[in-house]
């Protein structure tokens, strides 16, 4: 591969492109042609694509291992249970949770936030108590707390952001008072890509004796997460944004807190004993996993964790950083294109507007070029309101994206601009 004729930089580029091609070969869907053009899938913030090893794991489970878990004594039930719990152990290690019982399977990030709203918020908050959220939240970290507000008469405090899309930490500090009972903030903004200084924000909250929930849906596929180092009290994320199936997600919670919390749903598997007089709840994590879970999806999430570990989270972060830097440079050079979200610390998300063109028209026309971007308010309308825009187009990158795909995006944007002049 190396040749004396290549400069070091060129050589690095060659190695990288070879690795990237091998990596891309793991994702069959990336070979699709859309409208006769090679697919440039730049909507990973909404959902990422699945690599063959995860699909193979799902097939193996369905063809050789499937039964219900934690139930029967027969071979298949034991095999399925071992695979399901094995996946939990992988996830525990992946986020460096202290114990596997701190890792609760949910349907996704939204479900995880709702679990905490119910089990912690409903159980412990009283009228007049306050929860701090931020301007950058996804609706899934706003609406559950508004439901609790309307039910309990609590108050929501919102951390504002500056024009770059960075949270104002000084203001955050001033939002605390004796009634503050929870901070619930996103790790990475889905609409802008801002990486919030959550470790610092958690330390500040703990200084006031307030626990912190971190919405990690947009962080986990891109950054190495260590929940013990962050010292967060809750951390939520979704499988389908990290190369696993839909319908599975994780709530990490500190055991001491989870122990005190109310179960979210009642049913099978979450109980120790049931009589018509009294039910005794099961231990963690099962207390929060009522009913038959999405077993295959959970095992798929374990396989996705294996895949991410194999590629290496540091390699992923480094490559995505290059993608973001390249895409940012390319879009900045286009007259009439405005990048929304210019935080110093950003994940691989690029939201933009084109002067005189509505983002939905941008999305439809880019689709003709095989370029998949998200257009709209990204379930983060308060972010759009902050920047005084109805919507943006958003390119969000994953480990398999290429500079060529960014070039395809840029060519598409030029075509949009030409059509609308």
């Amino acid at each position: 591969m190396s040749s004396p004729a290549l400069s070091r930089q060129e050589e690095r580029a060659v190695i990288r492109s070879v690795d990237l091609q091998r990596l891309r070969a793991d994702f069959p869907i990336l070979r699709l042609k859309v409208n006769g053009k090679p697919l440039a899938y730049l909507d990973n913030g909404a959902s990422s694509q699945m690599p063959q090893p995860v699909m193979d794991r799902l097939t193996r489970y369905q063809t050789q291992e499937h039964s219900n878990i934690h139930r029967a004594v027969h071979y298949l039930s034991e095999t399925a249970t071992a695979a399901y719990e094995g996946a939990r152990a992988k996830i525990q290690k992946f986020i460096n949770a202290r114990e596997s019982r701190e890792v609760i399977y949910t349907r996704g990030t939204t479900d995880a936030v709702n679990l905490v709203m119910h089990g912690f918020g409903r159980a412990f908050l009283k009228e007049g108590d306050e929860i701090i959220i931020s301007q950058l939240e996804h609706h899934s970290n706003i609406v559950p707390w508004q439901m609790l507000r309307d039910e309990k008469g609590i108050k929501l405090q919102v951390i504002p952001c500056n024009d770059a899309g960075e949270l104002l930490i000084d203001t955050y500090e001033r939002l605390f008072n004796a009634r503050t009972k929870l901070v619930s903030i996103t790790h990475v903004s889905n609409a802008l890509g801002t990486v919030n200084p959550v470790k610092q924000m958690i330390a500040m909250a703990h200084g006031q004796g307030v626990p912190v929930l971190v919405d990690g849906a947009q962080a986990v596929p891109h950054l190495a997460i260590d929940v013990q180092d962050l010292d967060c009290d809750f951390y939520c994320f979704s499988g389908h944004k990290m190369f696993a199936p839909t319908g599975i997600g994780i709530l990490y919670g500190k055991a001491a807190l989870l122990e005190k919390m109310q179960p979210y749903q009642g049913g099978g598997d979450m109980i120790l004993s049931v009589t018509f007089d009294k039910t005794t709840y099961n231990a963690l994590p099962y207390k929060f996993e009522a009913g038959t879970p999405p077993i295959a999806a959970a095992i798929g999430l374990g396989a996705a964790v294996d895949y991410l570990n194999e590629v290496g989270m540091d390699n992923i972060a480094a490559w995505e950083h290059e993608l973001l830097a390249y895409a940012t440079g390319q879009l900045e050079a286009l007259p009439g294109v405005r990048i929304i979200g210019t935080a110093a610390d950003k994940a691989a998300v690029l939201s933009f507007t084109i002067a005189g063109v509505h983002p939905h028209d941008v999305g439809t026309i880019l689709n003709e070029d095989g370029v998949a971007v998200r257009t709209g308010h990204h379930c983060a309308q308060p972010v759009m309101q902050r920047f005084g825009i109805p919507a943006t187009a958003r390119a969000s990158f994953a480990l398999y994206n290429t500079f060529e795909e960014i070039d395809q995006l840029v060519a598409g944007i030029r075509r949009v601009q030409k059509m609308f002049t």
């Binding site: 509505h358 983002p359 939905h360 028209d361 439809t364 003709e368 109805p390 609308f420």
Partner: protein, 164 residues
């Protein structure tokens, strides 16, 4: 389909220079239209005299498809009896949802047939229809219209239709 078929000169022109854009001071009927999913948000105001649309105006924030649809709607319906326009609303809706084939079936849509291509883009159908829903709501003094749920003045949901 190729977006060039949808984003034709006529549509791009009406997007760039929307006709009857603005506020109508002496309106007798008005309604607000909102597509909650994509954020298209328009206002339609009318002056109806003796059952005929004497004047009409619209304004708002929307994509090109919605704005051009609204603009062409205003030029088309001005001077027409409400009854006739109600039929046009239905025909436009049927065209956009693929129930009316403008090439094969009789209709009164004229140049509005330029929007026929939207039926192949399920996510954009509602953009084209919103102005017409809003007009319908204004006729019936319904303050706000949407393409969704209870605020859908046509009382029947538009479901996306995927064509290969």
């Amino acid at each position: 389909m190729d977006s060039k078929q949808l984003y034709q000169e006529l549509i791009l022109d009406h997007n760039k220079k929307p006709r009857n854009w603005g506020v109508l001071g002496d309106a007798s009927h008005r309604a607000e239209g909102l597509n909650p999913l994509c954020g298209d948000h328009i206002w339609v105001a009318l002056k109806i005299r003796d059952g005929t649309i004497e004047s009409i105006a619209f304004e708002g924030e929307s994509c090109a498809i919605c704005k051009a649809s609204a603009s062409m709607m205003t030029t088309n319906v001005k001077g027409k009896p409400v009854e006739q326009v109600e039929q046009l609303v239905q025909e436009f809706r049927d065209m956009a949802t693929g129930k009316l084939d403008v090439a094969a079936q009789a209709h009164h849509l004229g140049r509005l047939a330029v929007f026929a291509g939207v039926k192949d883009l399920p996510s954009r159908v509602k953009c084209a229809i919103l102005p017409w829903h809003t007009l319908h709501a204004a006729f019936h003094n319904q303050q706000s219209a949407s393409t969704e749920g209870e605020a859908d003045p046509m009382g029947s949901p538009i479901t996306g239709r995927v064509t290969q």
